[in-house]
Amino acid sequence: MQGYTIRQARALLDKGKIGAAELTRYYLERAAKLSPKLNAYITIAAAEAEKEALRAQAMLDSGNQKPLTGIPIAISDNISTKGMLTTCGSRMLYNYKPVFDATVIEKLKEQGAVILGKTNISEFCLGDNASSFFGAPANPYNVDKSTSSGAAAAVCADLAVCAISADIGGSIVQSASLCGVVGIQPTYGAVSRYGMISSAPSLSQIGAIAKDAQDCVALLSAIAGKDMRDMTSIGYKSDFANVKECNLQGKTIGIITEYIAQASAEVKAAIENTAQTFKELGCNIVQVSLPSAKYALSAYYIISSAEATSSFALYDGIRFGYRSKEGDTFEQNLWHTRGEGFGEEVKRRLLLGVFALGSGNYEKYYYKAKLVKEKLKAEFNAIFNTCDFLLCPVAAEQGDNTARSATSVQNWQASAFTVAQNLAGLPCASTACGYSKEGMPIGAQLIAPHFADAKLLACATAFEQVFASKRKEAAV
């Protein structure tokens, strides 16, 4: 892996082999040089980062450093940063500077982490890679191919040590998989959503993208925890301290048959190899079935679109953000502002959501989708009675997330293997487990029961240690 992990950077900083300012400058320079090629950052906050580095150095000098003190981090552009542009990849917020920090940002700043800037995302984290108002981020493994998150691209190309990203529908896991890095979407409620600009509150989460699973542990332990400002946040003690042990002897790993059946030969082979590795690590491998998986995609699009219609209703151009010059009345101006401010995919979702919640349709669509969500939770819970972890592909096809399909419904299929876990609120992670013929990374998706985030990362770590020798680095 290129560049530094958190642990490597930590050691250099703590031993005084590199100063916080020097490390920050190294990353700012890399970002300035390579980001235009990768379109990974929307904002590089050089001046602020250098100031934060000085503060971090003061913490180091006084011996008060914390696990993330002086670590240069990238932040996904839908997480509010006080006074720093937060666009959500949308024209609607092209000029929006929040007046408050998200809880995760507060926590990172408390630790003395250095925020390098804000990374590119698909518009409001919805839709395919091309939906960002600022253009799609490129995949460092092949810059002709795109990925859905600048955060994964930035970590992969070492334009940041690690990143905090916001997820819906599995985008953290998907983009991490495309860029061959590790991404974790934690248990729903583990990390405060306060300050995350989300489309669908019941599905959106903040997670971590890093060079390995151990770094994800460091990030999650810094940002997780109950927050009085987010009523859906849950305080729980995930045993992050014991992740290093990673003894998988006697653990049972279930392979979700429905997903394997749909995967391409290349992806299927990579997952089977991964299962074999786990077997060699002492695990029992069993086949498990998730019968309601086939409804997951529909349920996900209905719930997320329905929630988006009201969550996005506040974009009216009155208090902040884009405002059209057209229209003489409030209503007319609203039409123009929203018509011009939102991209195609967002508008498509809004129309779908309005339909799903419309008079007479609530019971037919939204309510049923919520039932599917409950059913999936129950099915996962049943599986976890016998399994410690689940293993499956991140997507049926590997790598090529650029080829835009003929219809949006086909595009939406790309999330077919990640939305069920997202609906169930389960922690899941992706780690590289192989490469396609073109040399693009293939991700293995690991899923754990609610609140077993630390065990999940321990499991990923055990696999990484075996896979390390087979790793291939990105071209950029």
């Binding site: 997480i79 509010s80 937060t86 959500c88 917020l93 929006y96 929040p98 007046v99 408050f100 998200a102 959503r193 306060y194 300050g195 995350m196 600009i197 989300s198 669908a200 509150p201 019941s202 009085m228 400002r229 987010d230 009523m231 859906t232 329905a306 929630e307 219609t309 009201s310 209703a313 506040l314 009216d316 009155i318 208090r319 902040f320 409030f330 209503e331 609203l334 309005v354 919640l357 419309g358 008079s359 609530y362 939204y366």
Partner: protein
């Protein structure tokens, strides 16, 4: 044709919690624009609602005051619509699982008005239209102020019943201390749903909804106007259109705002930012144990146990503060009617003049003493009035005030006996007339005694002693 009038009310009441329902901004009436407004009130992206437990408790109290069942599990939903005073473009309300259900209020004519539900919701901001500059400005101070909406069944059949129901609700909310129920400040607002049907017909007519009535008088006038309007339409063989109307107070007429076809589809769905509200029965019981005696129960007590005239009792119960004050005063000195008289005549006059109707500068104990001083002949009634006004405006004990103002009657009994003796011997003819049964002359004799003893003796004592002497 004769028609039956069918009316249902929706009453919005602002809860007088310290802070707003979904954030920690303070809430009260008035103040400079946008000074009690956080990221949540202004609906900045990423802000999240955190519900105020006090608002939940207040809603439960309101439910108990209106005889409702309390839902141990209730939830918030999003009601979606665009309007410039609603920055999120959805209002957090309760649609599928309201906090209180199935209440009732019994009117003075024994009509039972069923309360279908009481739900919690947040208020919207306020628009200030500046015609001079041709702009509208938004004030979000009111944004996210807690409201309850009380929804009745269509059990009301006249303007008078509607007014009585609204007044009872307002008073009970004040007693439960959850809402100050000041219609003029907008802390209580009323929507009226009204339809007419041929007398005795089981089939309901088409209704009109009159929005945002902000006085009891407007409720009556709007209903009366609407009955006239709808019956004229029906008499002429025309149809009543289902629509929302507003009441113009200057013209006394209701005016169409939007028809059913233009009605919004609010697309209600459970708010994913707010978990289900769970309340334990023990918690409800605890809240119930703190509920005060409600106004109707007090009215009955005043009339039946204290023998107060109904009119006086009704005046005292209009305010919980005054009614509590009355109860505390009579607990110290139990001349119920004299103290009621002090309230109804003197205190209400002062309240009218000075507009202070709570946090009095004097205590029930001091008021009890003031009543006692009159009874004991230490003060004349006129002096009592003077002392009360000073107590009300400046504070102070009645004894000290009366002393300072030289209002204490000396009541020199020896001098009085002397004066009576003198008058009885001087006016023997008059005394004889009295003994023969002419009560008229008593006043004459009393006047003569008073002239001698002067103002420093209580007329009550003169009367008492003179009567005794004459017998």
């Amino acid at each position: 044709m004769r028609y039956d009038v069918v009316i249902g009310l929706e009453i919005h009441a602002e809860l007088s919690t310290k802070t707003k329902i979904f954030c920690s901004c303070e809430q009260y009436f008035g103040g400079e624009q946008n000074t009690r407004c956080c990221a949540g009130c202004a609906a900045l992206p990423g802000a999240l609602p955190v519900f105020n437990k006090q608002a939940i408790t207040y809603a439960v109290k309101a439910g108990l005051a209106l005889d409702c069942g309390i839902s141990l599990e209730s939830a918030f939903d999003r009601k979606n619509y665009f309007y410039p005073d609603l920055p999120k473009a959805y209002q957090i309300s309760q649609f599928y699982k309201p906090i209180c259900v199935n209440g009732k209020v019994i009117l003075s004519d024994n009509t039972t008005v069923r309360v279908n539900r009481i739900h919690l919701e947040e208020d919207a901001g306020k628009l200030i239209h500046d015609d001079y500059h041709g702009v509208s400005l938004a004030d979000y101070n009111r944004s996210s102020v807690p409201l309850i909406e009380i929804v009745t069944e269509p059990d009301i059949s006249s303007a008078e019943q509607a007014r009585e129901f609204a007044e009872i609700v307002a008073n009970r909310l004040r007693y439960a201390e959850v809402c100050d129920a000041k219609m003029e400040e907008g802390s209580l607002r009323c929507d009226v749903n009204i339809s007419l049907k041929p007398s005795g017909s089981p089939i309901l007519g088409t209704r009109a909804e009159i929005k945002n009535l902000n006085s009891f008088k407007s409720i009556v006038r709007a209903i009366e106007y609407e009955i006239e309007r709808q019956s004229e339409l029906l008499d002429a063989g025309k149809k009543v259109v289902q629509e929302t109307r507003r009441f113009n107070e200057n013209h006394g007429r209701t005016i169409a705002m939007r028809s059913k076809e233009e009605a919004q589809d609010y697309r209600y769905f459970p708010d994913p930012d707010i978990p289900t509200i769970l309340i334990e029965q023990a918690e409800v019981d605890k809240i119930a144990s703190t509920m005060p005696e409600l106004p109707e129960a007090r009215l009955a007590r005043y009339i039946n146990e204290y023998n107060l005239p109904e009119a006086a009792a009704k005046i005292i119960i209009t305010s919980k503060y005054l009614s509590d004050f009355y109860d505390s005063t009579v607990a110290i000195y139990n001349n119920y009617s004299e103290i009621a008289n002090l309230f109804v005549v003197e205190l209400f006059r002062l309240i009218n003049d000075y507009q202070i109707d709570k946090d009095f500068k004097f205590t029930p104990k001091e008021l009890a003493r003031l009543a006692e001083m009159l009874d004991k002949g230490t003060l004349t009634r006129a002096a009592q009035k003077t002392v009360l006004e000073i107590m009300y405006t400046c504070g102070g004990t009645p004894d000290n005030i009366a002393k300072q103002e030289n209002l204490i009657l000396e009541n020199d009994l020896e001098a009085l006996e002397q004066a009576i003796k003198q008058v009885l011997s001087e006016y023997q003819k008059a005394v004889q007339e009295y003994k023969d049964g002419s009560l008229k002359v008593f006043g004459f004799l009393m006047g003569q005694v008073s002239r001698i003893v002067g103002k420093s003796t209580s007329p009550a004592i003169i009367k008492e002693k003179l009567t005794k002497a004459l017998e």
